[in-house]
């Protein structure tokens, strides 16, 4: 499934993921966490992948055993979202930076996340197990 990488397509993108999660049988809590992770990826593509022009974000869903596997790709500038550093979650309100949470939430709400660059495409693979910790 391919979407124009525009913020106003976020709900359509997330609906696709939610439908996949429901079909797969992911529980409500894990589905909600997956929505957060997927939003981070899609919004990042919308904001940074195509600095000089519009572009697209594609998503492919599949299963590997007891895991739901999503691959989200763009053909924008090379960027590994997963290399962002984690925020300091112990800081108080005035010290806390506004931002830096996206990558952290992707890692927290998936069981595995990986990046690869293939044939000019950024591909982010997110894996969520049907039951946490299996």
């Amino acid at each position: 499934m391919t979407f124009l990488a525009r913020i106003d397509n976020l709900s359509k993108f997330e609906q696709f993921v939610t439908n996949c999660a429901i079909q797969f049988g992911l529980d409500a809590t894990r589905t909600s966490g997956l929505q957060v992770a997927v939003e981070e990826v899609f919004v990042n593509i919308c904001h940074y992948a195509y600095p000089n022009s519009g572009g697209t974000a594609s998503i492919v869903a599949g299963t590997e055993g007891d895991a739901l596997v999503l691959e989200i790709s763009d053909i924008g500038i090379p960027f590994n979202l997963l290399l962002s550093s984690d925020p300091d979650t112990s800081q108080d309100i005035l010290e806390r930076k506004v931002g830096g949470l996206g990558c952290y939430l992707i890692r927290k709400f998936t069981d595995h996340a990986s990046y690869r660059r293939v044939n000019g495409a950024n591909i982010l693979k997110l894996v969520v197990l049907r039951i946490m910790g299996q």
Partner: protein, 112 residues
């Protein structure tokens, strides 16, 4: 997302319904900026009917609360639950904001 406001004594109670995400977070900030411009400094944000929050939503909450704290004000949160609470806990936002189980208990704490 929908935002309703009501005034309880000197405190603004802001009820947020729906989703606070990359699409709606700017609307949240605009609403608060308008309230701050009107001179409001004490806020209770009622999140009972907030069903989803992403990092963009957290950023909006944090940016707004920082602005209000800079004006010697305070943002307290009430009725956080479900998946929104999970995102809060994971992000460490639970320790940033005063949190209460109800608007009434937040009002008692704020106004004494």
């Amino acid at each position: 997302m929908n935002i309703e406001t009501s005034k309880e004594s000197t405190t603004m109670v802001v009820k947020v319904t729906g989703r606070l995400d990359a699409v709606t977070s700017s609307e949240y900030e605009q609403k608060f900026n308008a309230l701050i411009a009107d001179g409001e400094t004490m806020f209770i944000v009622d999140l009972e009917n907030l069903v989803y929050i992403s990092s963009a939503g957290l950023r909006a909450l944090l940016a707004t609360a920082k602005r209000i704290k800079g004006k010697k004000g305070l943002v307290s949160l009430a009725n956080i639950g479900g998946s929104v609470k999970e995102v809060f806990d994971i992000s460490g936002f639970g320790s940033i904001f005063p949190m209460y189980n109800s608007v009434a208990s937040a009002l008692t704490a704020v106004t004494g």
